[in-house]
Symmetry: C2
Subunit: 623 residues, 2 copies
């Protein structure tokens, strides 16, 4: 070790001591300041901008490419390449922060009498009476009040033999369902912990859970380390098709992310990793395949099927996770193809198998999965929504973090009111537009007639009726000749230039809302019901919490209905993963839901293509 | 490589070329001439004597200790230490040969419609129709005509994904019971093979089997590589208790033996090791524990219990066996304690669960296990017989190989007739006495009154009635003052000195026959039957084939009954292992037999001690 230096991250003033030579990005991660690195830390994308206010290092070649000389002089550097050589204070601007958009729901998920998936018991290996000829495994089962001889892996059998050989009188026994998961010297495990993982294509959310009472001890989220190999599942599958070691590379990448999440969780909760004796993972089918080292190629080509879909678990050691050596990762069963374990987990969390009403569950992430049904019957589909709501393909799109316009209203007088996510009560400067802002903006522009049914955004000079002057003034043509509408004027913008929504952005939203609405349409047809018969709409995904229900209905993203019957349920998949980790009954429900939920493959269906074309259109509502 | 030389082993003239520097023992093993090395090849025991008739090397220090200068001059050397430096011809005398005493029975074990434990099917991964949304695993099950989604290890799931990714249209599928054991490109596996292993404390017998029709392609036996760590299970357990890495050392030792057996089998049958996709192993409890790396310590101390006893299998890779990477070793379930999987396998082979008659099964190996019962009820025990029948603790004891006296009769005129195992029809010189010869000799000495009920062997001068001169002449006192009876006079002996049975040898036989007979007595009591009610006696263990039934009854080893109702069934455990490997129903029967057969622990039972004391006595029969 050469030496250490202290670093302080603004604006939260998180301080820590790091080894000299550590990159800013690494140091920030240790301080729980996760900096977005879409290119994977190779200095290419220029997105991880930070500003040194003290201890500024010499600029790297990457810095010289990314910044002007004024910016370099002001202390701007790329976090992935800047190396800490002395004490420093660093400002991380909001756009560089990988905002933890996914957080787990906090509601009370477990009834007091829930059936634990992991049961820890401390027992004595009883009686040395000669007439008791039960084997050690049988004694363990008996002492735990179980009648069946348990399944046990070779490792556990060997460990039991070692404990007996060492004449360990009292031992701790861990059961996972009917399997003897581990045996330990008594009380060596303070309390058994688990980790619930919501493995998204873009973001990984992990929660450290007390397996006895279900309490959440810590949460942490991070970008999926696979992101550098492609933004969506299709590009990850392509990577596997084009590289002989692709599956192994992507598995290692996500394993690395999970390992870091676990390290963070344990540090936050001040517990040892060895206490983690079980994990549950919910992800889309591609994520579950890659996490378990199984090639996802069959998911990428017709007929788009998985290698497996039912109950399955793998040793945590297969993911190189340094948790308890016998811990296994329970992979949430998948419905079919691209309706994966995350949807199953969301169905568990929202009780899709327990409610007799006809309900619609829309889980919006990088893709959107839709489930229509009730306790009696459910049909699911996956729409190729794409990550527009996360800011991708939107000219000034960004995640729902500080600086994002998340609310837009156009008043009768033509004034435009918008809200920017920020810390302070004072109006923050706008940096971009997030998913809910985009939906609001389009809904409002549609209402005032600036967007027509086909999604056509009126050009600056068009004379289709008189417009209030404040509105007309906001219609511009961008440098590349695209019509646009100014949401935030230059003076209210962080960059000093207006934040706009362009005709192209409207088109992107149309594609997304069209694919989701068409999916809903097809599900209704398959179920033989009218959209009006839907009694409740559940919108899952952290994004959902910011949407105005009326705007979502106005643009036709969800069927028009009483807004009271639209509920935002947050990260339902993450909540489901927690339930599945802790509650044996939730596991059973997940297996049954995955098995019994019907599936419609939209790709290649002619009626989906026509429904999609129709659903792209906007229908102005009479108020 | 320095160079090679040719070596020829007499008397069978097996020739092979070896690297210069190879020991004679290693070269012999390569030529399938297995030389006994009780001390493990450390030059200590002096048992591995061979004679060079050509190319004799300089004597080693070990040779100088083991041989007289005349013997050294005649070319005698210890095979474990003699190194081949040039072409040589070597005689391996019979006593130095580790005779393959265990061979598998040759009878037709499988009904034409037997249910294969391993099923190979070649299938097409069918239809790319979009409405067929079954996962690959489901398609495999469906194409194989199975209704359940199969259990599959991570390795198999990954392999299936790889085959699909490579667009392999036709694949070969291997099922083991309900589990999808392996998937391969079509026809890559010529025919699936298995290895049945009878894992004895002293000897390992392995058979290479065609899993489709049960045909035996090759057999091979070898000394258990654990032998150097102790002759019996107790000393192996002690080794584990005294060495921290004891279990690992002993597992590696037996794994090495199995690996060599497999290499021999594959060479003999001219097949690739990768064709071996399943193994079945039957051994006593200590052997099964050690083979799977599980500490056997609990078997060595009261209440003498195993760590597990029911159905269990381990990956062949855990034993470092270079067979098919997905092959597993099915460990035959154990009844209890020291009545292990070998006894279960012997019960399967002898149909102890299918015969309504009251039968007695005695499996004589290094220990002797006894089972009494019928299809309705069975009780088993393990007697501490010890390896006397294999020659241990007998002054001139040896295995039933060439040169062993295996038959003794004393005629009315006082002449002693004996038979020596050999190749030629002419009388071979005697080298020692094997188990059956020992039983014969004691039975005859008992009959003519030279041994009394307590087992007392009459001294040379004792005047208890007149003796025919030819008999009296044979009674001697050995150098260490022990009474003895000459079986083979010096002129008929290979060593030039008489082959005798001593008073100590009689005592050893008494201990063995007493423990077995007392076990039978206790089992009859537990079952509530008289020994006379036993309808058939089955004697298992290769040793059994040489015993004279009348002699075994005369000394009280088996209950007195019509000799027609005593059957020698050979290596029943080995036959059972073959059935269990190939036939799914045999596996089910093994599980049920191990589960339902009752067990009596003899150790520490007062009534066993008194039964043992009584059974030590000889009871002269009235003819």
């Amino acid at each position: 070790m050469i030496g250490e230096c202290e670093v302080c991250f603004a604006p939260d003033n998180r301080r820590l001591t790091v080894e000299i030579g550590t990159t800013v990005a690494e140091a920030a991660a240790c301080a729980d300041v996760v900096i977005e690195q879409p290119c994977g830390g190779y200095g290419r994308c220029g997105k991880c901008r930070v500003r040194f206010t003290d201890g500024v290092p010499a600029p790297t070649l990457f810095d010289r490419r990314a910044f002007t000389s004024e910016q370099l002089a002001a202390g701007w550097r790329l976090a992935c390449k800047a190396v800490l050589m002395k004490a420093a204070t660093i400002e991380v601007p909001a756009p560089s922060l990988a905002v933890s958009v996914k957080t787990f729901g906090g509601e009370d998920l477990f009834p007091p009498d829930f059936e634990r998936a992991i049961v820890a018991q401390t027992i004595a290996l009883d009686s040395d009476a000669m007439d008791d000829q039960a084997s050690l495994l049988e004694r363990v089962a008996r002492a735990c009040g179980r009648t069946h001889i348990p399944k046990a892996t070779s490792g556990t059998v060997r460990e039991l033999a070692r404990l007996a050989a060492a004449r360990t009188e009292r031992i701790q026994v861990l059961w996972e369902d009917d399997a003897l998961r581990a045996v330990l010297p008594a009380e060596s495990l303070e309390r058994p912990l688990g980790v619930a993982i919501d493995l998204g294509t873009t973001t990984v959310a992990a929660a450290l859970i007390d397996l006895q009472d279900g309490a959440t001890l810590a949460i942490h989220s991070a970008l999926n380390g696979q992101a550098r190999y492609g933004a969506d599942v299709i590009s990850r599958i392509t990577y596997c098709a084009e590289h002989a070691d692709g599956v192994a590379v992507l598995q290692k990448a996500v394993a690395q992310t999970l390992s870091e999440c676990i390290a963070h969780l344990c540090r936050k909760a001040q517990v040892a990793r060895q206490q983690i004796v079980a994990l549950a993972l919910a992800g889309n089918s591609t994520m579950e395949h890659l996490a378990s080292g199984v090639s996802p190629l069959s998911l990428g080509t017709a007929p788009y099927i998985g290698v497996w879909r039912g109950e399955r678990s793998i040793p945590a050691a297969h993911l190189w996770l340094e948790v308890h050596p016998r811990a296994r990762v329970w992979l949430t069963p998948m419905v079919r193809s691209n309706v994966g374990g995350d949807t199953t987990a969301a169905m568990v969390a929202t009780g899709m198998d327990r409610d007799d009403r006809l309900r619609l569950l829309i889980d919006i992430g990088t893709n959107a999965e839709v489930v229509l049904g009730s306790a009696r019957r459910r049909i699911a589909c996956s729409t190729s929504a794409g990550p527009a709501f996360e800011g991708a393909n939107i000219s000034q799109g960004m995640r729902a973090g500080a600086g994002a316009i998340d609310y837009v209203a156009i008043h009768e007088d033509g004034s435009v009111v918008f809200h920017v996510i920020g810390n302070a009560s004072a109006q923050e400067p706008a940096r971009g537009i997030c998913g809910s802002g985009l939906i609001d903006a389009v809904a409002e522009l549609l209402r005032v007639g600036l967007i027509d049914e086909r999604g056509w955004l009126r050009p600056p000079s068009a004379g289709q009726g008189p417009l209030p002057e404040p509105i007309a003034r906001r219609i511009i043509r961008t440098d590349n000749g695209m019509n646009a509408f100014i949401l935030a004027p230059a003076e209210k913008s962080a960059a000093g230039s207006p934040v706009c929504i362009t005709a192209g952005d409207v088109r992107q939203l149309q594609l997304v809302k069209g694919s989701i609405a068409a999916g809903i349409e097809i599900l209704c047809r398959e179920m033989g019901v009218e959209p009006a018969a839907i009694e409740e709409v559940l919108i899952a995904g952290a994004f959902g919490n910011y949407i105005r229900k009326t705007s979502a209905m106005a643009i036709g993203l969800v069927p028009a209905m009483d807004p009271e019957r639209v509920r935002f349920v947050g990260n339902a998949a993450g909540v489901g993963a927690r339930m599945i980790l802790v509650d044996r009954n939730a596991r059973r429900r997940a297996v049954a839901l995955a098995e019994t939920t019907e599936y419609v493959e939209l790709a290649g269906r002619a009626d989906y293509q026509s429904a999609f074309a129709a659903a792209m259109m906007f229908h102005r509502k009479d108020t």
